[in-house]
């Protein structure tokens, strides 16, 4: 066993440069011809693990070891098992509780340090995961053989992975972490104080988590849109391939026409700016001509509500049938009380029931009454209508109705 360990240490020692490179380069290192043997040896002793696109990365436990050795804040690397961390957190809480009962202040301090470390580890792991995720998505090399469905599957895996991560981040609020500890008020207070002291400086745990969540959501959104697009493309391609007489849909209803169909195909225009140094005068003058032929920029502004100019909405051009009926009833009541001739115009002008006649002018009422008479409105029994028309010369001028008289029908 001892010899075996010595062999491992020797392998690590002989390839120390490679290990240092692997530790420092988060994106992994790829083997070259002269380092192939070294890579094989390190893989054999499990110091390296395969990473993306044929590159290799330092084994996680080894990285943790180096992190601790060089006092690096970043403790855990890619793919931290969040559930595992929460489990450790719970165990540490129990340990803290025991220390509290035993009144062992030293142990309590250690537990708190450990708990804070775990919280930090949670956030760091998450941040690294999203960075890794984005790096893979961003820098993935083009399609390399396989098939389109592989690519689709690849995307789907990433979507699922991202969805899981978003879900995990949802649990990652500082308050949730403290809830996970199921701690006592005292422990929560102590932790809050420690966390506050710790994050007050540059490294704000909450902010980091928020950033992670935002980045994840953005990446997930983009990826889902891309995924949907690829699915639609492949589905349509499948349909087109299966059906030679495939007919794309016809939009029956004009309102359903998508905006895309209204694209303006364009017309030929001279180049702007002209590559030959010409000032493109023709084009500019054409554009200016169109631009100058615009509506006046000062649009009529509606008067402020309640101001003197505010006359409200314009009235309709003529009274409705019911309004006319009400006004006519008023007129007929007046007729019942009188025996002499009545001038409708005078009655309209002197009528005190303004509310009934509002907002139409006497002229409009007169015109409406005239129309009604033309349409067969009969006068009250024993009365007749008499139109008064003004026109200096009926041969040349259009007669204007000036009044309607209600006269007792003697005949």
């Amino acid at each position: 066993m001892r010899e075996h360990i010595l062999n491992v240490i020797q392998a690590l020692h002989q390839n120390r440069d490679l290990i240092a490179d692997a530790y420092c380069q988060g994106q992994g290192i790829a083997p070259e011809k002269e380092t192939e043997t070294a890579f094989t040896r390190l893989l054999k002793v499990k110091a390296l693990t395969p990473y993306i696109e044929g590159s290799f990365r330092l084994d996680r436990r080894l990285r943790v070891f180096f992190d601790r050795a060089v006092n690096r804040v970043k403790i855990y690397g890619n793919s931290t098992h969040y559930a595992h961390v929460v489990g450790k957190l719970e165990a540490m809480t129990d340990a803290y509780q025991s220390a509290l009962i035993a009144a062992d202040i030293q142990s309590q301090e250690e537990c708190i340090d450990e708990i804070i470390g775990l919280c930090d580890e949670f956030a760091t792991g998450m941040k690294e995961d999203i960075e890794h995720f984005r790096m893979v998505v961003d820098t993935r090399k083009g399609f390399s053989g396989g098939g389109l469905k592989d690519r689709l599957l690849h995307n789907r895996n990433y979507v699922e992975q991202a969805a899981q991560m978003v879900e995990a981040v949802g649990l990652l609020d500082q308050a949730d972490l403290l809830d996970a500890i199921r701690g006592f008020t005292e422990l929560t207070n102590v932790l809050l104080r420690h966390l506050y002291n710790r994050v007050e400086g540059s490294d704000d745990l909450r902010r980091r988590l928020f950033e992670v969540q935002q980045a994840l959501n953005a990446a997930l959104f983009d990826l889902q849109a891309a995924h949907h697009l690829v699915e639609v493309l492949l589905r349509l391609d499948d349909r087109l391939a299966r059906q030679a007489d495939f007919e794309p849909p016809v939009w029956e209803n004009d309102d359903d026409l998508p905006d895309m169909l209204f694209r303006f195909p364009g017309f030929p225009l001279p180049n702007y700016p002209d590559p030959n140094g010409d000032d493109s005068d023709v084009l500019l003058s054409l554009l200016m001509e169109i631009r100058d032929d615009r509506r006046p920029s000062a649009r009529p502004v509606a008067p402020r509500a309640g101001s003197l100019d505010d006359a409200g909405a314009p009235p309709p051009v003529k009274p409705s049938a019911s309004e006319f009926r009400r006004a006519l009833n008023l007129l007929l009541t007046e007729v019942d009380h009188r025996t002499a001739v009545i001038s409708v115009m005078t009655w309209l002008r002197t009528q005190h029931d303004r509310e009934t006649l509002y907002p139409y002018s006497p002229v409009i009422w007169l015109g409406t009454l005239s129309c009604a008479i033309d349409n067969g409105l009969k006068p009250p029994d024993g009365w007749r209508y008499q139109h008064q028309v003004a026109a200096s010369d009926l041969r040349w001028e259009t007669p204007v109705l000036t009044d309607i008289w209600l006269e007792p029908d003697v005949a």
């Binding site: 399609f143 389109l148 697009l229 998508p258």
Partner: protein
Amino acid sequence: MSADRFHLIVTCLLRGGFINRTANPELFDYLEEPANVDDINDFLGRLGLRALRTGSDETWFAALRRLDDTNRSAARETAVQAKRELRHWVGFLKLTMAALNEPAPAAGALLHAHRLSQAVHENLNLQETLRTLCQRLRSTADASLQKMLESVINWAVRPEQGLLELIDEDKGIYRLTGKVDWVLDMILAIDESLERQASSAPRSAAGFPVPPSLPPDAPDA
């Protein structure tokens, strides 16, 4: 400078062009200001047009205002044209998807010809797609893969198609233009309409098979 950008944008839109965030960052930035968009729309409004964004919000183009029957017939004409081109677009996007860095095709993405060629050479399904596309484009389907790829790329670069623009001739690098975003929106609209038809019609009378569910372990056809 802003007047200059105004002219550039208007000229581009009136030509039926697209303004994409990646391809025309300066012009796109100008359109990020709502006041500038109002200005452009005020101008285009004199011609019965307006500036619209694609669904991805990454590309602007000029569209007819929905005013009268003339515009409706123009829209229907575009739909007919889209139907005619649909097979070409889908085939082309399926091909390019194989060689892009992005998870899905999108305007502004770079297309390396050698990567595309490599992908096609390695994949029989893509070779079939390429052959079918070439047949539809009335190109020689019995030519070598490389020749067919070149003809497809040339077709896409052609101004009347305008799906690709050449970035680096020596290295064979192209960029997907803003039109790709518009095409993708078109495809999504068609798919949505098809899905609606399929869900409203009884399955037996649907007329086309149920869309494949793409099981995770399905081998590539």
